[in-house]
């Protein structure tokens, strides 16, 4: 999928570009309790990155090659290292969350209230800039370890665990 550069100057696309880059940083600085056999980045729902995510495929992080997958079925997220939940899939998030409960899968989304609903990393806005909120409760629940380098960049939230989170 070719990057949609038609509106390169648009804020949305610029955000998508930045967020795509940030996903790499999450992969790099969030360490699973057990080393993963492979790194698969999954987009749950339609890809909102407009092609910015594609270059990540084939690159490596922590000495493992990265694969990309667009998934629509909850069950398909089984072996993902990171799941980006498209905003439009907000309604299926609880279902997905339940499915992923207990699994050391980094969950990221940019719909508002994602972290409050048990998501781990939520992209938001602050002073017109991208803001990252990290749900430390969700992260801790599955024993993911977040390095300080990432912690410096994000706002840590503790929304507690939603019902059936564990």
């Amino acid at each position: 999928m070719a990057p949609q550069v038609a509106g390169a100057g648009t804020l949305e696309l610029q955000e998508a570009e930045v967020k795509a880059g940030l996903l790499y940083n999450f992969l790099k600085y969030v360490e699973p309790p057990q080393p993963l056999p492979s790194i698969t980045v999954c987009v749950f729902g339609n890809d909102p990155f407009g092609g910015y995510l594609q270059p990540m495929a084939g690159r490596s992080v922590n000495q493992k090659e990265i694969a990309l997958r667009i998934v629509h079925a909850v069950n398909d997220t089984q072996d993902c290292a990171l799941v980006f939940v498209a905003a439009e899939e907000k309604d299926r998030w609880p279902q997905l969350r339940k499915f992923l409960a207990g699994k050391p899968v980094i969950t990221v989304s940019d719909f508002k209230g994602f972290s409050a609903l048990g998501g781990m990393i939520e992209f938001g806005q602050e002073n017109d800039h991208i803001h990252v909120a990290l749900n430390m409760d969700a992260v801790d629940a599955v024993h993911l370890r977040v390095e300080d380098r990432l912690l410096k960049l994000v706002t840590i939230v503790h929304p507690g665990l939603p019902e059936g989170g564990r």
Binding site: L11, E17, V18, Y24, R59, S60, V61, Q63, N127, I130
Partner: protein, 784 residues
């Protein structure tokens, strides 16, 4: 001795050679060890250099962080951004200063002139940079309105210059290690390239940070710079990959390399459409803040650090490998040296003991042997199997042969002396008769000198009439027979015939072939003459004896006739005129008769005695027991009258003798024993002894004896009794009175048998006559 001084002995030469070899080996190995030692030193320098390159990498990084953060800060419009960044600026400044002073301090120790030149320049620039830092601080404190618009760019350029020069130092420094090891230099270059990537990425980061801080769109010039720097960084990745592959860093660092590149690309890709697209612009705010960006971008350097550390670890491992290899080389060379020296020493000792010493011993022995000493070439057992041992064995064998030859020569000389000094002619000749040797005896006997005779044919000395004899001799020699004491005649040079005794023996060579003959010729002229003389004497004697015997016989025979007439006439006178004659005349006539009778007996005895000497003995096998029994028979009346008895203690042997004469011998001895015996019982014992001592003649074997118990004979008369007509005592028994010839006959018979007679006697006790009958006539041994 002078020879030895002028000319080195093999031992010395060997010592020199082995010494030279040892020296050469030592030098070669020492050179190698030295090279490795120097290399080891260089390697330790490499290690230091690697460490230093690490520090310089650090300096570059810290400076670029300081530069970029400060640069962004200089453009920040709001106080919050400035305050957020200031902390980072200050900490990176401290880190940069610390790294720089440490790296520069280390660098000065290397004393590389051009490096130090850059260093000096860099220090000057750094002083200016320090001044600029103070300006940056002042700038920050001031209100945005009063800020110097030129300062940010000056700061950026000045900081970049310091970084670039630091990299120059690094480049120059690494050059010095290419000779030590190209790979380590490549490792340094690789890290340098990482530094370049970091530097250009840093510039991008700074410019982006500035644009974000200003919230401004990039100018075309800035876009161009961003693209240029991105290109440089990407080229850095490509060159880095090539270098990593060439220097053997891959595959070890491949994962780290890919990670670092992925991280870099991922982070910078975030800004691609925002700043790198032609005509890129934004509305409102950028989606990301300057400090967020700077933080993200700066952290990518971590992956470069990880990559650099991975390369460094490889470098270290590689250098340690080099170090181990050099140490190993040193140890191996040292061991080789030790081994070579030991081998040299051992070789010297071996050659000295097993070659030179035995040769010296052999030479000494040979020199002694030349002086005629008895020597031994035997070597110790351990040397006997090698070449010299075999040589010694051969010499030992030669030596033994020489001893034998010397002994033979001595024997030969002795034999030659015997031949030379012999009075006999000793000649040797070949099978065809050619004379080969001719001793002085031959010269003397046959008149030819050795020079004249040797080479001539043996017929030279053989008279024409005896040539046939030589043919016979040659035939006998051909059958390997020896001719002993052949009495013949040879011819003197002057033609005179010489009586000789010839002994001829075949001569054999070492292989046992008959190659000639030796002749020993003895001059027997004198003996021949003596023999002839003796023959003459013997004949004369025989003639004289015969004449004497004839005379005795004729005399006795012729005397008998007148005696008989005398006797008869006296008897006739008595018988015819007994009445007319007075008593005295009768007595006288009786006396005359008696005397004439006695005279006749004497003449008869004389006749018999002369016959004894003249007649041949009638030798026959005779049983002596039978002889004694015969005598006993014929003398039975005689014995009875005298109460005589003959005893034979053990049987007598049978011998070969003249029976009649031996019977006479024994009868004479028996009757004598009876006659001169006053005992009532007269006992005569006849016996045989295996051996019996004789005064003055040792032991006699096979002795007969006749022993009586008669009156005995005084020692002074022992010889007297054997003389003819000699009686020691007048016997009362006048009728049987003998003429005194009995013992003379006895002695004669014994002597005719080649025997001997002697006696032992003690007056009043008896006499023992001993006799032997041996000699040439005695054939058969006693068979008792």
């Amino acid at each position: 001795m002078s020879m030895r001084l002028r000319q080195f002995s093999i031992r010395t030469l060997l010592l020199f050679t082995i010494g030279a070899l040892a020296l050469l080996t030592t030098t070669l190995v020492a050179r190698e060890v030295y090279t490795q030692w120097v290399r080891l030193d260089s390697i330790s320098m490499l290690k230091e250099a690697t460490k230093l390159s690490d520090e310089l990498f650090d300096v570059t990084y810290k400076l670029s962080v300081e530069r970029d953060v400060a640069y962004s800060m200089l453009y920040a419009s709001d106080r919050k951004t400035i305050d957020d960044l200031r902390t980072t600026v200050e900490s990176s400044r401290r880190d940069a200063d610390a790294s720089l002073s440490s790296a520069y301090g280390t660098l000065e120790q290397y004393r590389f002139p051009e490096v130090n030149e850059i260093l000096r320049r860099n220090r000057e620039q750094f002083t200016e940079f320090q001044a600029l830092r103070r300006q940056v601080d002042t700038f920050m404190a001031a209100s945005p309105a009063t800020r110097d618009r030129v300062l940010p760019q000056r700061w950026f350029d000045q900081a970049t210059t310091v970084i670039v020069h630091t990299q120059d130092i690094w480049m120059q420094f690494a050059t010095h290690f290419t000779d030590i090891d190209p790979y380590v230099t490549l490792h340094m270059r690789f890290k340098h390239v990482l530094g370049i990537i970091m530097e250009y990425s840093g510039r991008e980061r700074a410019l982006i940070g500035k644009l974000l801080a200003e919230n401004a769109d990039p100018s075309p010039a800035e876009q161009l710079q961003l693209l240029e720097w991105r290109g440089a960084a990407n080229l850095g990745w490509i060159i880095g990959e090539t270098l990593a592959r060439q220097s053997g860093l891959t595959p070890a660092i491949t994962p780290a390399f890919k990670d670092a590149r992925s991280y870099h690309q991922s982070v910078y890709d975030m800004m691609r459409d925002i700043f790198y697209q032609p005509g890129a612009h934004h509305t409102g705010s950028y989606p990301i803040s300057a400090e967020f960006w700077l933080e993200l971008a700066t952290e990518t350097n971590d992956s470069l650090y990880a990559l650099k550390d991975a390369a460094l670890a490889q470098s270290h491992a590689y250098v340690q490998g080099l170090e181990r290899k050099a140490q190993h080389e040193i140890i191996v060379n040292f061991l080789i040296l030790l081994f070579a020296l030991t081998l040299c020493g051992y070789s010297f000792r071996l050659v000295s003991r097993r070659v030179i010493a035995p040769i010296n011993a052999i030479v000494t022995a040979l020199l002694d042997a030349m002086e005629g000493k008895t020597v031994s070439f035997a070597l110790p057992a351990r040397s006997q199997q090698n070449e010299i041992g075999k040589l010694a064995q051969v010499l030992e064998a030669f030596q033994r042969n020489t001893e034998k030859i010397r002994q033979n020569e001595k024997n030969n000389a002795h034999l030659a002396a015997i031949v030379e000094s012999s009075d006999d002619a000793i000649i040797s000749k070949t099978l065809d008769g050619t004379i080969v040797s001719w001793n002085p005896g031959a010269e003397h006997l046959l008149g030819y000198s050795s020079d004249e005779a040797v080479g001539r044919h043996i017929n030279l000395i053989i008279p024409e009439e005896r040539l046939e004899e030589e043919v016979g001799i040659i035939e006998k020699l051909g059958q390997n027979q020896r001719i002993s004491h052949l009495e013949t005649v040879r011819r003197h040079k002057n033609g005179r015939r010489i009586d000789i005794s010839l002994t001829v023996s075949p001569i054999y060579d070492l292989a046992g072939n008959n190659v000639g003959a030796s002749k020993i010729i003895r001059d027997i002229t004198a003996r021949k003459q003596a023999d002839a003389q003796l023959l003459n004497y013997t004949k004369a004697l025989e003639r004289s004896n015969k004449e004497l015997d004839d005379f005795a016989y004729i005399a006795s025979h012729d005397l008998k006739e007148p005696l008989r007439g005398l006797h008869n006439h006296a008897r006739f006178l008595l018988e015819d005129n007994q009445d007319k004659l007075d008593a005295e005349s009768v007595s006288r006539l009786n006396r005359l008769t008696y005397l004439s009778q006695r005279m006749e007996r004497l003449v008869n005895d004389l006749l018999y005695f002369s016959r004894l000497g003249r007649q041949e003995l009638a030798i026959q096998t005779t049983d002596l027991n039978e002889v004694v029994r015969d005598i006993e028979d014929t003398l039975d009346v005689f014995l009875e009258e005298r109460h005589g008895r003959i005893t034979i203690p053990k049987p007598l042997p049978t011998i070969t003798c003249d029976k009649t004469r031996v019977t006479e011998l024994l009868r004479n001895l028996i009757t004598n024993a009876m006659k001169y015996n006053d005992n009532a019982e007269k006992i005569v014992e006849i016996g045989f002894l295996e051996e019996q001592p004789v005064t003055g003649a040792g032991m006699m074997k096979d002795v007969f004896y006749v022993k009586d118990n008669g009156r005995g004979i005084e020692e002074g008369f022992y010889d007297e009794i054997f003389r003819i007509f000699k009686r020691l005592q007048s016997n009362k028994d006048s009728l049987t009175e003998g003429t005194g010839v009995g013992l003379t006959f006895v002695k004669k018979i014994v002597e005719r048998h080649g025997g001997r007679i002697w006696l032992a006697s003690e007056p009043g006790k008896g006499t023992i006559f001993y006799f032997t009958l041996k000699g040439e006539l005695y054939d058969s041994k006693a068979s008792a």
